[in-house]
């Protein structure tokens, strides 16, 4: 068979798609993030490294990693021997201070509905934001989520057909329990004495928030406060800016000592207020009266129906409070208008289903084609084209870094359907048992029909790009890529292939 340039284009595209998808046969877990100055980081382990072995135990999955790490650290320092795909590291540590993830099998990224995670859409309450204001909000929110310690997040402004402006937030993998308060609350923090504000959240007043230092930040064991209700307290230290510390001195100077406390405290409290709600009333010891206090201890509590739940609640509240103290308040009151948390376990089940379905569709279509044309090489040509189309579409999806969700995959499969239809059209048009003189005309007509249906397919999906905060963009995109690959690459190659087969 003579190779035409159209067939060569197809082959080149297939190779490029393979490079883009980049299948990966290594085993291990991927380091997704690493704490600054942790022993592992100082030893030279980096984000993106693949851990293959820890202390002689093979690490093939996240489960392996978790079980090995859980067995290793019991509070004391241990000797670690970590083998990555490139190197070996031996050091002492009492924890690994890193987050790891499943090694991706390919460059293909799957959407939230298949990989699990959380998605939220937020909108500013009662105001219409300009593009810059929206971008500001995106920046502050993303700083807040990063400060909180969330990695692997996508946060971007989206607007839709009716001019609505939203912020879309996607968090891959595990979802923090307090995501809702992190993104949905304005985080307006004030510390007041009487009606005077001493300091507010953000770096203007607060220069440092102690977070990972056990002597400066702690959650205490829970205590029973009433039947079936436990409370756990937390405390952490913050450093005030000179201005804020001076304000503290000026304000407390005039406050009299509370005689009922035996001279121990002042008669007014330092009230911590978050988004209009009182978090805690702290007594001010007499010694601080009129003092330029640069370090202040912030306290609060968590409650729960079990001691563990109370401690977890306290820890989460502390973490949220620390985050808003660092990042300050958001410029607008926000409203969460959509929030989804998708179970990774369920997503795995769905992914499995979709892969099996893809194979099933393939086999079924191949059988039909063979049953009709009864010629092995013609059928193979159809099957090869079908496969190429899906494969090149996937390649382009990985090139674009596109997250493939379930509707997106439906788009690819439906695209294959259109593709097969077009190939049947070409096969029928190229039948030689009818009058030979019409052959060229028929092929031309077939391409006219193919072009027409391409145009209508694109036209019908186009509006989805701007619909519904971009949530259905994936569906539109994969469908359009699929049919475009069809018309530009696979269809012309297929026409050449069948005419060569026919020539023989």
């Amino acid at each position: 068979m003579k190779m035409t340039w159209r067939i060569w284009v197809l082959i080149v595209m297939l190779v490029l798609a393979l490079l883009m998808i980049h299948p990966n046969f290594d085993s291990g877990v991927l380091i997704k993030s690493l704490d600054q100055d942790s022993p592992a980081q100082l030893q030279g382990l980096k984000q993106g490294d693949i851990i293959a072995q820890i202390n002689g135990a093979k690490i093939e999955s996240l489960e392996d990693y978790n079980s090995v790490v859980n067995d290793l650290f019991k509070g004391q320092e241990v000797r670690l021997d970590i083998v990555t795909s490139k190197d070996e590291f031996i050091f002492l540590a009492n924890s690994l201070n890193m987050t790891v993830g499943e090694l991706p099998r390919t460059n293909l990224k799957t959407g939230l509905d298949l990989s699990g995670g959380a998605r939220a859409i937020i909108v500013a309450e009662n105001v219409t934001l300009s593009q810059e204001e929206l971008q500001d909000l995106v920046d502050v929110t993303s700083q807040r989520l990063n400060t909180f310690g969330l990695r692997d997040i996508i946060i971007r402004p989206v607007s839709d057909l009716t001019g609505g402006k939203y912020i879309l937030i996607e968090v891959a993998g595990a979802t923090p329990q307090n995501l809702k308060s992190l993104i949905g609350e304005q985080g307006k923090f004030e510390a007041k004495v009487g009606n005077k504000t001493v300091f507010t959240g953000g770096d203007k007043d607060i220069t440092h928030v102690f977070r990972n230092d056990a002597t400066q930040s702690a959650v205490y064991p829970a205590e029973l406060i009433s039947d079936g209700n436990y409370m756990s307290r937390f405390t952490f230290t913050i450093t005030l800016s000179p201005d804020a510390a001076q304000r503290h001195a000026d304000i407390t100077k005039t406050i009299p000592v509370d005689p009922e406390s035996g001279g121990q405290y002042l008669s007014e409290n330092l009230t911590l207020i978050l988004d209009g709600k009182v978090v805690e009333e702290l007594r001010i010891s007499t010694g601080l009266k009129g003092q330029v206090a640069s370090q202040i201890s912030i306290q609060g509590s968590g409650v729960g129906s079990t001691p563990d739940a109370a401690v977890a609640d306290a820890r989460a509240s502390m973490h949220t409070l620390q985050t808003v103290l660092i990042t300050g308040s958001l410029p607008y009151k926000l409203q969460i208008i959509k929030i989804d948390t998708i179970s990774p376990a369920l997503g795995k089940e769905f992914t499995k289903g979709l892969i099996v379905l893809g194979i099933a569709v393939f086999i079924v279509v191949s059988i039909i084609i063979f049953a009709r044309y009864r010629r092995i090489n013609l059928s193979l040509a159809v099957i090869l084209t079908m496969f190429s189309e899906a494969f090149i579409t996937l390649g382009i999806a990985s090139l674009l870094g596109w997250n493939l969700d379930a509707p997106g995959i439906a788009g690819i499969i439906a695209g294959i359907g259109t593709g097969v239809g077009d190939q049947i059209l070409l096969l029928d048009a190229s039948k030689k048992d009818e009058k030979e003189i019409y052959f060229r005309e028929r092929i031309k007509l077939a391409f006219f029909i193919i072009l027409g249906s391409f145009a209508t397919n694109v036209a019908s999906m186009l509006p989805l790009f701007w619909t519904g905060a971009g949530m259905l963009k994936g569906f539109a995109l994969t469908t359009i890529i699929g049919v475009t690959v069809g018309i530009l690459i696979t269809r012309p190659a297929f026409a050449d292939i069948i005419s060569k087969i026919g020539d023989k």
């Binding site: 609505g164 979802t175 569709v361 439906a414 359907g417 259109t418 019409y438 209508t456 469908t479």
Partner: protein, 301 residues
């Protein structure tokens, strides 16, 4: 040679039947479309809308719980005490009948329904065993409105493409009416079955617009642009190719319903609507569009 003869026989048999009856055949899609329209208008006056909307379009919560073994009936009775508007569906593995997931769709707030379901199940729901999707009513309303706008735009766009391809008004209208039928018939069917549509489901209708017009383009192009044979022969030739294409596409969709389970709901709904649409397409292309074309082309002469 023998093959040619049977082909000729087929054509002449088809011709004598089709010449006599094509206007009568035209009545089938026309009546179906009219009935569906009447049904949809009535449906709208009863339900206040043309479809049943799921929580992504009506606002509310979808709670998907994996790997549970509970009686759906008991859960229903339990939830009825506190919620007036909810539905429960099961996703089962076809081969083993294992319950893969339970899907609860309600207009209630996520925390409320989660708490009650937890009370019934006796364990806590977290991301290891469940997914929760919540859409606020303001977003869902705007979602729905936009999808409706998208359908209209999509329809106008393909009408323009069709008109550009075939230039003549009657031919283009025949195609546009057929495509309209391809939306109306499945829509009525979806409502009759009581299916709650999701955003992805409506997106499937958009796809259907582009997907189902293919056979109409095939038919009209063949009738107009092929110089061989009579109108009847061209219609029959187009039919043989077109029906095979549509059936292949339909069969390709089947595994999603009969072989593979554990597919996301959004996915299944897209496939379901596409299959309804392809069935409608067979009727609308070959009985409606073809008849109008034949009538028009033969009158012209």
């Amino acid at each position: 040679m023998e093959q040619n003869q049977t082909h000729q026989e087929q054509i002449s048999k088809f011709e004598s039947f089709y010449n006599k009856r094509y206007k009568l055949l035209l009545l089938i899609p026309v009546i179906l479309i009219l009935l569906s329209l009447v049904y949809l208008v009535r449906f709208n006056s009863i339900n206040g809308d043309f479809i049943y909307k799921d929580s992504s379009l009506a606002g509310g919560t979808t709670l998907t719980i994996s790997n549970v073994t509970v009686s759906v009936e008991d859960l229903k009775t339990f939830l009825q005490k506190d919620f007036s508007d909810f539905s429960i569906r099961e996703i089962r593995d076809l081969a083993s009948a294992r319950l893969i997931a339970l899907v609860i769709d309600t207009t209630a707030q996520p925390d409320l329904i989660k708490e009650k379901v937890e009370e019934f199940l006796g364990f806590e729901l977290d991301e290891s065993n469940s997914s929760i999707e919540f859409t606020g009513s303001s977003l869902s309303e705007s979602f729905y409105r936009q999808l409706m706008i998208a359908i209209v735009i999509s329809f106008v766009l393909i009408s323009l493409v069709v008109f550009f391809l075939f230039k003549k008004v009657i031919r283009s209208i025949a195609i546009v009416v057929a495509v309209l039928g391809n939306i109306i018939l499945p829509l009525a069917l979806v409502n009759i079955l009581g299916i709650k549509l999701s955003a992805a489901g409506i997106a499937a209708f958009l796809m259907l617009i582009g997907y189902s017009v293919d056979t109409d383009i095939l038919l009209t192009s063949r009738v107009l642009k092929r110089n061989e044979g009579r109108v009847n022969q061209r219609i029959f030739g187009a039919f043989k190719t077109g029906i095979f294409i549509t059936c292949t596409a339909l069969i390709a969709l089947l595994p999603a319903f009969f072989i593979v389970t554990g597919l996301p709901d959004s996915f299944r709904q897209i496939f379901l609507i596409l299959s309804f649409g392809l069935c409608a397409d067979i009727i609308n292309t070959w009985l409606l569009n073809a008849a109008i074309l034949k009538w028009y082309e033969e009158r012209k002469k």
